[in-house]
């Protein structure tokens, strides 16, 4: 049975995609789930995977060409299956001769025509050749969905997917659906939960949490919490942010780096790596800041998924180091570099930049001494790291030059009070000024 290959909505906001590269030639055998092509979305380069088994019989789009979401871009079918009708459909769909690098909309069918055709099909229940009548939404080609949801409609998802997402703590708004018109369905939640909650992260994470503790705990808001949230949001909204700045002494961090480097290049770690490890360690002791504000409740996470802001040419993106508190410094170091590199190459998958429980932004390498970072909702805090500088400070009554670093934590006052944020920074100071704490 032939499987149509559509340009899928590979990001929640994607309206068209540029087919960067076909991974399969016409005539190649493909299996369901295998990458067929690489597609550039508005955010990243993603894989378009096969939704059925068979032979890739036809490709309607040349490499480098763009197509709107929902357009037929290929056909997977049996080797000797007749696909003439599909070829007619795909060729009619506006793959018009080499529209050199621009305005794919011009060659595509006008949306009205697509909708009209769809309606006609959906209504034609009395036509005997339709294989199964009254198939509801599932039978409608994806175009219609995009037309319907294009005007800023909500994320489409199956009821089951919504339920699973809420049970598993997956933020459904950040997922891309693989169903018709980008509908988020069961398999999308399963794969998100898998990559967000485990994969390579779990492999190296020691099982140190009590079994059955779950990934997080939802705590309903108390009245006082509700009042604080409401009043502060009225004051500065929508996130009533306040800032806590602290300056840390990096003497021991410097000594540790020097000592490690002396052991060999493979032990080289950056200040940033140490800070990330310290933040993760401190977060594991302060779940009250490792949390999500969910409107009617606060979700305290039992796992630490650390978002690390990365500047790219296209803008800011925040890839996630999952279970950062359980990872060794070497792992954090390697993963951070790898994620940053992939971010700059626009190769991050949504799972890699979704699900953080707290974020860190470091502008030290740009020579910034101190700054305030914007909270990445629904997180309730973000830490802004400044540059390490030698400062003359008073050490037991005498002046000494010491490496110092300023950090500023932005806190969502609805969930985090000043004293709570300060306590977290105290722990962080202890970790950074005594980095041996990190191996304890």
């Amino acid at each position: 049975m032939a499987t149509k290959v559509f340009m899928e909505a590979l990001s929640p906001t994607m309206e068209e995609g540029r087919l960067v590269k076909w991974n399969k030639n016409e005539g190649d055998a493909v299996k369901s789930g295998e990458p067929l092509a690489e597609v550039e979305t508005d955010k990243a380069i993603m894989e378009l995977v096969a939704r059925g088994d068979g032979i890739l019989r036809k490709r309607f789009v040349a490499e480098g060409e763009s197509r709107p979401v929902g357009q037929l871009v290929g056909v997977i079918a049996g080797a000797d299956e007749n696909i003439d009708a599909l070829i007619a459909e795909g060729s009619g769909g506006g793959s018009g001769g080499g529209s050199g690098g621009g305005a794919p909309a011009a060659s595509a069918k006008p949306p009205e025509a697509v909708v009209a055709k769809t309606t006609e099909n959906a209504g034609a229940t009395s036509v005997p050749q339709t294989s199964a009548q009254s198939q509801g939404e599932a039978s409608m080609p994806p175009q219609a969905k995009i037309e319907a949801s294009g005007n800023g409609g909500p994320v489409r998802s199956s009821p089951l997917a919504r339920r699973m997402a809420s049970e598993r703590g997956v933020d459904i708004g950040r997922l891309q659906g693989s169903g018709p018109g980008g509908r988020i369905i069961k398999r999308d939640i399963e794969s998100a939960a898998q990559s967000g909650g485990g994969g390579h992260a779990v492999a190296s994470a020691p099982a140190r949490r009590a079994a059955g503790a779950g990934d997080f705990e939802d705590v309903a808001l108390t009245q006082i919490r509700k009042t604080i949230a409401k009043r502060l949001a009225e004051s500065i909204g929508p996130i009533p942010t306040f800032y806590l700045t602290s300056e840390f002494d990096l003497t021991r961090v410097s000594e540790m780096r020097a000592a490690m480097l002396a052991m060999g290049d493979e032990y080289k770690v950056s200040v940033n790596d140490i800070v990330l490890k310290a933040v993760a360690t401190a977060l594991s002791q302060h779940p009250e800041v490792n949390a999500h504000w969910l409107g009617d409740r606060i979700r305290y996470h039992n796992r630490v998924h650390l978002g690390v802001a990365v500047a790219t040419d296209d803008g800011l993106i925040v890839p996630v180091i999952f279970d950062a508190d359980t990872k060794r410094m070497s792992e954090i170091s390697r993963e951070t570099r790898e994620l940053a590199k992939r971010a700059r190459e626009r190769k991050l998958t949504p799972a890699e930049y979704t699900g953080s429980t707290f974020s860190v932004s470091n502008l030290g390498m740009f020579g910034i001494d101190q700054f305030t970072a914007i909270i990445n909702p629904p997180e309730v805090g973000i830490l802004a790291i400044g540059a390490a500088r030698n400062e003359v400070v008073d050490v037991d009554g005498s002046f000494e030059s010491r490496p110092r670093m300023k950090v500023t934590m932005s806190c969502d006052h609805r969930a985090v009070d000043g004293a709570v944020g300060a306590a977290f920074l105290q722990t962080l100071r202890r970790c950074i000024e005594n980095p041996l704490m990190l191996v304890y």
Partner: protein
């Protein structure tokens, strides 16, 4: 276990129930001397005599009414319609008399009657003789509607229908009479209103009844070759419907295809889908798809008839669609 035909299973049920209770009698066109248009009543006249196996003139409304009257005074008639298409003439007795008398007599008159006969399409019998009536009958409070798809179910359910103190419409199938299946020698009955899980899987639920059970099983066999294992829920009774069985299956598979022999509008499948959306909304991963007869009078031409009928290929296509495979 003996393997017998659907026809013989029905015949056994009639004989056993007539032996068990002498208030039970069979009445209809050609049931006695001719031994039944489809030979379901073969040998009954010889065994039970013409008082209990009664040939009638071609007067559906008349003999259905005689049956209702007999039931009112304590007998347990089985009214055979040569096909449910002919029973249309008797619907006043079925819907207005049999279904309503218990209610309208303030509970004074039970009507322990069975109306039975072949239902739905056979082959090239055209528009007037190919209709599936389960949704028409199931619409009426006061009736029970039973649609067995296998010999085992046919025998067990017919015995229950005959013993039931209320009117039961028993829908058989011309294309089913020659199908075979295991039927135990020992006595058994199947409760009315209980579905049966004919095949177990986790990918999707195919919910169906009557003759379409065979279609669903063909589809399930084909799908299994592609590694897709489906639940086949045979409702067996469409009124009362086994909502619990539907719920259990759909909760497990998260997807459903509802397959029925009749037309779409107000069909059995429409009601099934309603139960699903009410009880399983949060567990659905895809909209439920219905497979049914095309919305036309049944064509006579072979190719058009084939196109109009629900079949395994259409069912497979629907399953693949709810699984987001196509």
């Amino acid at each position: 276990m003996p393997i017998i035909t659907y026809r013989d299973a029905l015949s056994q049920a009639l004989r056993e129930e007539m032996q068990r209770d002498d208030r039970v009698f069979l009445m209809g066109e050609e049931v006695a001397v001719y031994q039944g248009a489809y030979k379901v009543s073969k040998g009954l006249l010889q065994e039970f005599g013409e008082m209990r196996v009664v040939d009638t003139p071609i007067t559906e409304l008349g003999f259905a009414g005689v049956g209702v009257g007999a039931a009112m005074v304590g007998l347990r008639p089985i009214i055979e319609f040569m096909t449910w298409n002919f029973a249309v003439l008797a619907l006043d007795q079925v819907l207005n008399a049999a279904a309503k008398l218990l209610y309208m007599s303030g509970g004074q008159y039970n009507i322990p009657i069975v109306f039975r006969g072949p239902n739905g399409a056979a082959l090239q019998l055209s528009a007037q003789h190919s209709q599936a009536f389960e949704s028409w009958l199931a619409h009426i409070p006061g009736l029970k509607v039973v649609t067995p798809g296998t010999p085992y179910d046919a025998k067990g359910l017919l015995k229950s229908a005959i013993r039931d103190d209320n009117p039961v419409c028993f829908l058989e199938g011309e294309m089913l009479y020659n199908t075979k299946g295991e039927v135990p020698e020992e006595e058994y009955t199947i409760p009315i209103g209980k579905a049966d899980l004919k095949r177990e899987g986790d990918a999707c639920s195919i919910i169906t009844n009557g003759k379409m059970v065979l279609v669903a099983m063909q589809a399930a066999d084909q799908l299994a070759k592609d590694g897709i294992k489906v639940d086949v829920v045979d409702l067996r009774t469409v009124r009362p419907m086994d909502v619990e069985a539907i719920r259990t299956s759909v909760m497990k598979t998260n997807r459903a295809v509802v397959l029925e022999e009749g037309w779409e509008l107000a069909g059995i499948g429409a009601q099934t889908v309603d139960y699903i959306q009410r009880d399983c909304f949060d567990m659905l991963d895809a909209p439920v798809i219905r497979v049914h007869q095309a919305d036309v009078p049944m064509p006579y031409a072979k190719n058009l008839e084939r196109a109009a009928k629900p079949d395994a290929a259409k069912t497979i296509a629907a399953v693949r669609k709810v699984m987001y495979l196509d």
